[in-house]
Structures are given as C-alpha cells and as structure tokens.
Amino acid sequence: MAKFTFFLGKGGVGKSTVSALAALALAGQGKNVLLVSLDPAHNLSDIFGIKFGDRPKKIITHLMGMEIDEKARVKKYLHGIETRLRNTFHYHTAFNLGRYFDIIKFSPGIEEYSLMQAFMDIRDRFNNKDIILVDLPPTALTLKFLRLPSLSMLWLNKLKELRETIIKKKEIVTRIKFGGKTIERDKILNGIEELLTEYHTINGILTSTTDSALYIVMNSDILSQSESGMIHGELEKIGLGVHGIIINKVLSDISREKPIHHFHSIAHHFLPHSDFPLVRTGNLNRYLTLHGDSTLFTELESFI
C-alpha cells in the first residue's frame, strides 16, 4: 500500500520545491514515487519544465508527476450529480437544474470536496507506488481540505441519528396501519452510511502515523513561523499530528540552527538556501548532491 507524505505551509515558503527535491531523492534511491500537486496554482510544471496534467507523466525513472485539474474535476463531479438527479427526480422537479448547478459550483466547500475526491481517486489508482508525495495548496484551502473528513463525520453522525429516529417512527405508523408489512430499507440512511464509510477511510489515512506523514514547510522569518504555529494548532484540534518541520531556504550555517520554540517536540529538518535557481531536474539534482544528506531525505526513506 502506498504511503502518503503531505507538504503544507504558508504560500511562498517552497512547498513545491521541497516536495520536488524529496521526490527526486527518493526516486534516486529506487523507490517508486508519485508526486502530486493539489495546489490550484500549480508550480510543478515550472519546476520540472514539463507540462503536467490530471494524468501522471514520467519525470525520471521511478518518478511520475501530476497536477490536479481542480476546475475540470468540479465540473465533472457536478455533471455526475446533475445526471443522477435527472435520472431519479420527476421531469418537472429536475427541469431547471442546469442553472442551479451553475451557481452551486461557486458554493463554499466545493473546492475542498473536489480535492478530497481527487485524493481518494489517487489513492485508489496509484496504490502500487511506494510513496505518494502531495504538494498541498496554501494554508486556508489546505486546512479546509484536512478538516473536511472530521467535520463531515460529525454532521453525518447527527444526520444518521435523526434519520434513524424518523425510520423508527415510520415503522410504528406502518405497523399500526398495515400490520406486519415490512418497509424497504431507507435509501437516505444507506447514502449516509456510505458517506460515513468513505470519510472514515480518509480520516484513517490522515490520522495514521504509519500510512501518512504531514510536514510543515516554513522559512526562518517571523511571519512564516507565526503562520506555521497557527497551522500546527489547527491540526491538533482535528487530531492530526505533524511528522516534522522543514525549515527551508536557511541562509546561515545550518549546524548552528536551533529548533523553533513553537515546535520543540517535533523533528526539525533544515534545507539550506540555494545560490542557483531550483528549477529543472539538473539543478535539483545538483542541490541534492550538495545537501542530499539532510535529515529530511533519510527520514522519508525510513518512513517507506
């Protein structure tokens, strides 16, 4: 089963570069790696100079890359729901659905749900990989995405309770009116249970310390530290642990760097600033030759 590693953090700290370096380092060790960008403002294409899309493309041996086309996925998902509605609803009820769905695509919550669907799709399709590295969007969307399973389970459990009470009352009415006639299983309750199973699986992956690892990427500046502290606090609230802190673009001698006080109990990995642009495989490999001994790469290798 493929393991997941997520890179999150403030915009501009170098999440895509760090995930690209990690992917190359692991592929260089012979691991089968998939690098996925869930960030709607993709950077992987620019980093590798390869036009990535919704299907994986080979970068080097053992390494494939892809960028999720979030807009296309939202469109496809809503079209699927609309088709299901037209098939199950009466004609007059479904008549004006087109216009309704044009508005729904802008509803809050759609973006993160689409990312979650993409994540599940990747998990199902690329389970044969050793590791799937996920370059996450900047903080706001990432937190919404990571919160979605636990928040949805909270709602679904309450909806399930209410639905079961409704069903119990309906059964009493049927028993009194029609004797022992059995009523068919409630399709809404079925739907709720199916969604609960799906969210439970996703939450299981995210909270597992053996199947997935979350890394916060940050820089040494105050703003970056403060936002990373906030991310850590929010993740704790939903029961997600941070596997490690990556301090990227370190300017001074990294042997002198000290752990940041917000995260004293979490492993720190320091990646020095590069004097040359970290784009294209050649430059990234050059960086790995210079700094490939970083604890980040050895930790990731042992995680698999």
Partner: protein, 102 residues
C-alpha cells in the same frame, strides 16, 4: 382458559357487544394517535431536509458536499419542505386542527 358462556346467552351477547365497542374505540384512538405520529414524522423529515438545504434560505447547514451526495435521494423530502412552506405562516393552527382544539 376460556369462559363457558353457553348456558348464559345474554352474557355472550354482552361480551360480544363489549368487544365490538372496544374495537371501535381502539380504532378511533389509533387513527388519531397515528395521525399525530405521522405529523411528527413529517415535521422531523422537514427538519432533516432543512439541515441539508438550509443554506438555500439562509440557515447554517451541513457541508455542501453532503447535501450534493444526498440530494439525488431526496425528492420526497424536498416535496415535504415545499409543502411545509405553504403552512409555515401558521404552524400552531395546523397543530390545533390536528388535535381538534378550538
């Protein structure tokens, strides 16, 4: 052990009329209690749908992803919400008429 009523035909008549009376009484109260239970169930279904589609009328509601996944299964529930909109201005009136008050 059943009652031996053969020697008392009058008693048999009384018992069977009591039974008839009891059945009528039972049916009458069952009908009104079932009506109340059906009303309560419909109200709960309305609340269930409002939890999911409340955002359409400005109420805080469940994540839109849950609403979208369950929407294709909920045509009947949507009809209840639409029906309830018609009587929403006088919920007490509806309840009183159901309970035969006033």
């Amino acid at each position: 052990m059943g009652l031996r009523l053969k020697p008392y035909p009058k008693m048999k008549k009384i018992v069977s009329s009591l039974k008839r009376w009891w059945h009528r009484y039972d049916r009458l109260y069952k009908v009104s209690s079932v009506k109340l239970l059906e009303w309560e169930t419909r109200e709960m279904e309305n609340i269930f749908a409002l939890i999911l589609f409340g955002f359409l009328i400005g109420l805080p509601s469940a994540p839109v992803s849950i609403m979208l996944e369950l929407l294709p299964l909920m045509e009947d529930d949507l009809s209840i919400v639409m029906e309830r909109l018609g009587t929403a201005h006088d919920p007490l009136g509806e309840l009183f008429s159901l309970l035969d008050i006033g």
